[in-house]
Subunit: 361 residues, 2 copies
Amino acid sequence: MKLPHRRQFLHLAAGAAVLPAVQPMTPAAAQSGPPSTREVPARSIPVPDTVSPEMQAVIARPFNPNFNLVPETTTDWKKRVDDAARNVLATLPRLREALGVSVEPTMMGGVKAFIVTPKAIPPSNRDRVLLHLHGGVRVFNPGEAGTREGILMAGFAHYKVITVDYRMPPDFPFPAALDDAVTAYRELLKTTRPENIGIFGASAGGSLTLTTLLRAKAEILPMPGAIAPGSPTVDLSKTGDTLFTNAFVDNLLGTQDGFIRATALLYANGRDLKDPLLSPIYGDVHGFPPAILTSGTRDLYLSNTVRMHRKLRAAGVEAVLQVWEGQSHVQYMTDFTAPETKEYHDEVARFFDLHLGKVRP
Amino acid sequence: MKLPHRRQFLHLAAGAAVLPAVQPMTPAAAQSGPPSTREVPARSIPVPDTVSPEMQAVIARPFNPNFNLVPETTTDWKKRVDDAARNVLATLPRLREALGVSVEPTMMGGVKAFIVTPKAIPPSNRDRVLLHLHGGVRVFNPGEAGTREGILMAGFAHYKVITVDYRMPPDFPFPAALDDAVTAYRELLKTTRPENIGIFGASAGGSLTLTTLLRAKAEILPMPGAIAPGSPTVDLSKTGDTLFTNAFVDNLLGTQDGFIRATALLYANGRDLKDPLLSPIYGDVHGFPPAILTSGTRDLYLSNTVRMHRKLRAAGVEAVLQVWEGQSHVQYMTDFTAPETKEYHDEVARFFDLHLGKVRP
């Protein structure tokens, strides 16, 4: 009976040696008022057995080996992006076939995009379109690699999806991505009533969904019918409690300090990280359409998702939140065969169906 | 610039020495398939500065010094309960006065209860009643000490509240509390239409809200109009990912292994901890009324709240979730002057208003 315990202590010691200690960014806070930092000991966290076997396998994955490697040159950045895109692209034919989805390139007011179409679109969705802003920490998933989330949504939720292939760093930092997203939205408004448009995206794409709405408001464009930001990275400054509590708990992102922070700086290109068009948590969200936000209990961006949810609620927006057991960042769509992936898309589909414009009889 | 870093390492070492390492309960899981435990290093977590100053003070509190002290005799349990009740009672006169709420004892079919009445009840709420099942890990808050949550709800949400003073261990283990809650609900149904009844409670009271509905279903009683389980402890077995990830992050509960587990065993009195009437996450929740569930990012029971939310959603129940930045277990009601406390009650009031029966013109 004692052997497993001893083995766990060994694991624990090994973990402590391999992983750096997590440092808060604001040591000054410790100097005023009550002791303001919580000291949390090392721990060994088992995979929950209440999620599907497929999700258990996702949760059990070791840390992403690249989570702390920061490219030093533009060439290094591009190689990193290309390598990742190649990996994603290799998975897409099987995904498209399994979900019965076709993808074709298009242009929207000079912006590259892809039309992602499921085999069958029910009559209730025939006039509706979902605009998709993909994730990838603002640097990954150029070109067709960006369509993966769109294929999942088209296949599971039975909507026509348009994936915007927005420009990204290192060649195109802020505001290129936002410009492209707003241009695509403006183009879509020429053919589709705003209440029939949903906008969605994960991570950086969830944040871009929100900044697109901030910009649309400023340009007096109508709001879309509903949005679905998945684990949106709404705060590029190191703010959000789970950036600390879930550091090295989130197996996809590891910590915000390494690669993630480098991508934020690369995208911001010298701009204040708390600018609302970079970090929409600091924007004015009054008048936003209904929103469904998603995160996981191990997500580094759980806090920023729930902060955004509360901010939307406080502004009187009909915003709902779902948080998934044991999942790290955007793992609700990691394995398309996991029942949680279908359940996530079913929830979002129901939400869009409830809030987007109805077919007129 | 290096001094704060060094000081933090000292804090870190001190924390590691004071606090025991967290051990998972199922080391067997580590032996099959991929490496199934996550090794997480010690960390120092600052108080988030994006919450109110009042909430920052709550989050900055040191660990509850009693979180790991387990009473050994019935006398010890009673002393612990009495001491805690005395502390709560001392705060109630000021709370009642500040919120303009009066409290009077009553009986409901032989069960002790309190009628908690705000100064003014708006016309829309005049036929509605909220049944309140208080928290306190199934042993705390006997008698008038149990009315604290009821006073907050009556004062902030402007409803008439009935707090059930259900029997508790060590004298009265399961099913005494559940029997009393169902008896009170059955009595209330004699004077109030079910759609005009809301049931709410925090922690153990949130779980008791759900087991009361399971029992009501089995006894073919009508469902109430809506429920509001706050951070419900819906699983008394050591199941739920944040029991591990948030151990020693949650400053109220610390860990599930010490006092919390002892109260679960005391209440269960030998019964299987996964019995749905002890742990409603294992029950059949089809047909449940609309529910608003609440937790915090540091809550030991965040996972069990989100698991329950998902279970309700999967059963087709209109269930909404709110999660509060940086809060440990039920800290949405710790300081009644914190704006988050009012915001929480405003949300719940809106939810009840939306879903409870409307006054007939």
